[in-house]
């Protein structure tokens, strides 16, 4: 066998694919409420009563249908977080920043969002969303700029 290394090595190229995803009934309402009212909505399961945020038309836990809306938050509790030290392509914020898993008041599920890179972001901390001004909101979760701690310091 000829052990000479391959010379042509590789073929480079690029594909750009565009998508427009139908949000479906529940997410449409969730995003519209953020855009128009600066409010966060969850959905209540008709069977197990769990409140899912962001809402779906079905309960992720038990597969039943949702029966009702429930306004949740605006604040919540940090369930977990991680610090992003270096920037990467497609990052939601300029590094350094933190990702947080927030359980909004009244919700049974946690939601991912972003937070500033400050010590006040720790497990158990209470946080609140900072909404962009109404004129800047588009109907996306990024209409919330980030979640900030209600108080600096506090226990781990």
């Amino acid at each position: 066998m000829d052990l000479k290394p391959p010379e042509l090595i590789y073929l480079e190229g690029e594909t750009r694919c565009n998508y427009h995803w139908a949000t479906g009934g529940a997410v449409a309402a969730f995003l519209s409420a953020i855009r128009d009212h600066g409010k966060l909505l969850g959905a209540v399961c008709e069977s197990c009563g769990g409140v899912t945020v962001p809402p779906q038309t079905y309960c992720e836990k038990c597969g039943s249908s949702m029966s009702d809306w429930r306004e949740v938050g605006p604040g919540g509790v940090v369930m977990s977080w991680t610090r992003i030290a270096d920037g990467y392509e497609g990052a939601p914020l300029e590094a350094p920043f933190r990702f947080v898993l927030v359980r909004l008041a009244g919700a049974d599920t946690a939601m991912v969002h972003v937070a500033p890179d400050v010590d006040g972001i720790k497990v158990g901390a209470t946080v609140s969303p900072e909404f962009k001004p109404e004129g800047e909101r588009k109907g996306a979760v990024t209409d919330i700029r980030w979640f900030v701690p209600d108080a600096m310091g506090g226990e781990e």
Binding site: E7, I9, Y10, R16, Y19, L31, W69
Partner: protein, 182 residues
Amino acid sequence: MLEVVKPSGGREPVIETTGELDIRYRYSYGEHYDRFYREMRDNRRIMTVKCPKCGAVLLPPRPYCGFCYTLVEDWVEVSDEGKLLTFTVVYLPFVGQPTEPPYVYAFITLDGADVQFPHILGEVELEDIKVGMRVKAVWEENRKGTLHDIRYFRPVRGAGERQGEAGNEEKSAGPQVGEQVR
């Protein structure tokens, strides 16, 4: 069932979100494509592998015969001329296609090979194309090591060549469908 909440102020609900996937790639040629395309680029010829067990000459070249699972290490030269196995005239605009439609997308059985070679036809009127006709590669002067080093295949003209007719399909050498080679 969840009642759909209507947004206020006459605005439309957010029924879609848009996004884009920007996929950049770098495909490694690997040993077999490397040799195949170097031969096309530098020596203006088509070299590929031949199975030592069943004799099939395979395209594209690869380390194992897909017919009998034998390791293939022998390289042979294959003609840049052959018969048109099938073709279609593409009118549909499609991402990444080699040229503006309409064009002729073809499978060619090159003399000496047992698997079809994909390419396009040129220098031919649509009504003159027949399955089975003989075609020959027209090479680019400036070759880079891709299938585009052949610009297209054109009909072979001149005395003595066989023009294909409907229903004319010859079997080439190598194992036939249904033969047990394992």
